[in-house]
Subunit: 383 residues, 2 copies
Amino acid sequence: MSIRFQIDARAGAARTGRLTTPHGEIETPVFMPVGTVATVKAMPQDILEELGVQILLGNTYHLYLRPGVETVRNLGGLHGFMAWPRAILTDSGGFQVFSLNELRKVTEEGVTFRSHLDGSSHFFSPESAMQAQIGLGADIIMAFDECTEHPASRERARASMEMTLRWARRSKEYFAAHRHENPWSRQSEENPRLPDSPALFGIVQGGMYTDLRRESAERTVELDFPGYAIGGLSVGESRAKTMEMIATALEVLPKDKPHYVMGVGYPEEIVQYAAMGVDMMDCVLPTRAARHGLLFTSEGRINIKNARYAQDQGPADPRCGCRVCSRYTRAYLRHLFVSAEPLAAVLNTMHNLAFYLDTMRSVRHAITLGDLSGVLSGSVSLA
Amino acid sequence: MSIRFQIDARAGAARTGRLTTPHGEIETPVFMPVGTVATVKAMPQDILEELGVQILLGNTYHLYLRPGVETVRNLGGLHGFMAWPRAILTDSGGFQVFSLNELRKVTEEGVTFRSHLDGSSHFFSPESAMQAQIGLGADIIMAFDECTEHPASRERARASMEMTLRWARRSKEYFAAHRHENPWSRQSEENPRLPDSPALFGIVQGGMYTDLRRESAERTVELDFPGYAIGGLSVGESRAKTMEMIATALEVLPKDKPHYVMGVGYPEEIVQYAAMGVDMMDCVLPTRAARHGLLFTSEGRINIKNARYAQDQGPADPRCGCRVCSRYTRAYLRHLFVSAEPLAAVLNTMHNLAFYLDTMRSVRHAITLGDLSGVLSGSVSLA
């Protein structure tokens, strides 16, 4: 039995849903925090649970390099290794292979690249990327795609898209033959209500060309995946262009399957995309921004190191009920940040994640009530 | 009403006690985590509370430089600023002024030094050190002493000790006149059972000379403080010498007042000193070691980055019940550390503090039962 997606309520193009995975249910639309090397930076897993995180993302490229897929498999897969009993999604490694490595060679077979850790040479293909993700034991895994660079000519975007489609087919074939080789397959026999193997999602590419995006979506749907991502966005294009590419793909993607936009976004973006019918999103922004002292609040973004907060006795966000806002002042958070204290990363991250997760909770609530106008206009607590 | 110290049980020279401060009761013997700049590095305050921390230490030197005493006072003193409702002890700044600053000039008046942050020039005296600590709002503050360098000749140790005694008298005089100028004085009117002002402890010096230590203790006792610290230890001397100096001072210090050895120690040390009659200790060791990957366990110290832990599925300490040991494996902790992940500092610190606090809890329990032999031999869970 594979992943299940149930749509519950609708408000325009937006919908709430429940995605049932081998490691529990996810309420959509969902924002997935990024846990690059099996850790959401500075956040203990019990805090993530308390914040209501139901699914987090791991990066196959990084984990493949360190500590290695077999090490993780032997330690119970990612779930056992990082002691996370809820859902995990892994990306295929494609994005980092393309973005982190200047010395790489792309052929029809796959990508040869050098480790950013020690310069050693490695090779990723659709098959090996599937093998790695299955070995890591994620609940949802991604097809191995080519992330089209930006900007790209129409010819380049087409060629890239075509290769992604060929690689998607190869990903699917390998996956079909090996999906049960994951580290927790036997465990799910104990609970027949849960899916017993991971799910593989396809990825729409096509650069910034609406016709290529449409074609990529149609031909990816022909391959019949249980869920579809829209990749290659948030790579420097305008917000309007991002929305246009998302809207184009959403016109084609099946309504009864989950829609995942990779690598987005700012708080106002994730609300907007959810309103358009996007079900899943991931981004390093809340966690990375936190470590740089940028806090997302209902009053907008604040840069906590600013001297104006040195004696500010208010919470980071007066409308936030998280552990940080209910205990600490802006003055204290500023002090921690300018003093380069490790607690700064912990508290800033905790708040930003709470803000993002509360934002999505508000969106789901508004969809259930049939009215997104409040959250879209920002009158409900959003950045 | 000032601080109260009640002795409850005894086992040889050891005793359990309750120290009642303006911000609650402390069970002794106690180990006080160090929260240098108003934060115990990487530990949110709610975790400290959960671990059972009843008192933590702040460094006046650092807080005076950043964010500044008046800023802290205006934000409710350290308790308000760092949102810590329990007890706080501050040192006088003497140690850092001497140890962190090569460019310093000592006169009878006090010490001129340069900030390690920006090189600006500052001056600390017994009076200003009392003023700073009162302004920071600690429950227990320390006399401004001269930390005798090590090694020191007998003449140098005597001269230093004599100045510390003169400075102790000046500390006490200033304190007596200004003790109620703390940030929370009015609040304690609401609870007449708690002391309404901080307590000032004296500090025994004398280098590594038993006769000077004895004399310093006697003459500090003549000044009549509500508690006494033994300073200038753990500065490079042998463990045997440390114990000899502590034992010498303890022979003289009044039995009915709390005894505080500053800056110690390893787990086996803090147990040993508690057995000798020491009531309070502080040290950066558990927290600093944690950030360097050194974990204290019932099986001894482990350096978590060691390759032998790469696939170790056991907890850091099989006999520890802390949140870290009940959830994460050594393999995961090692991965976090070698990957330079911020969560490494969080989890390692959480475990080491749990280990230290559990160690002291075991010691108090053993004293209550009248038998320290188990904890001293290490048969009870200790490093």
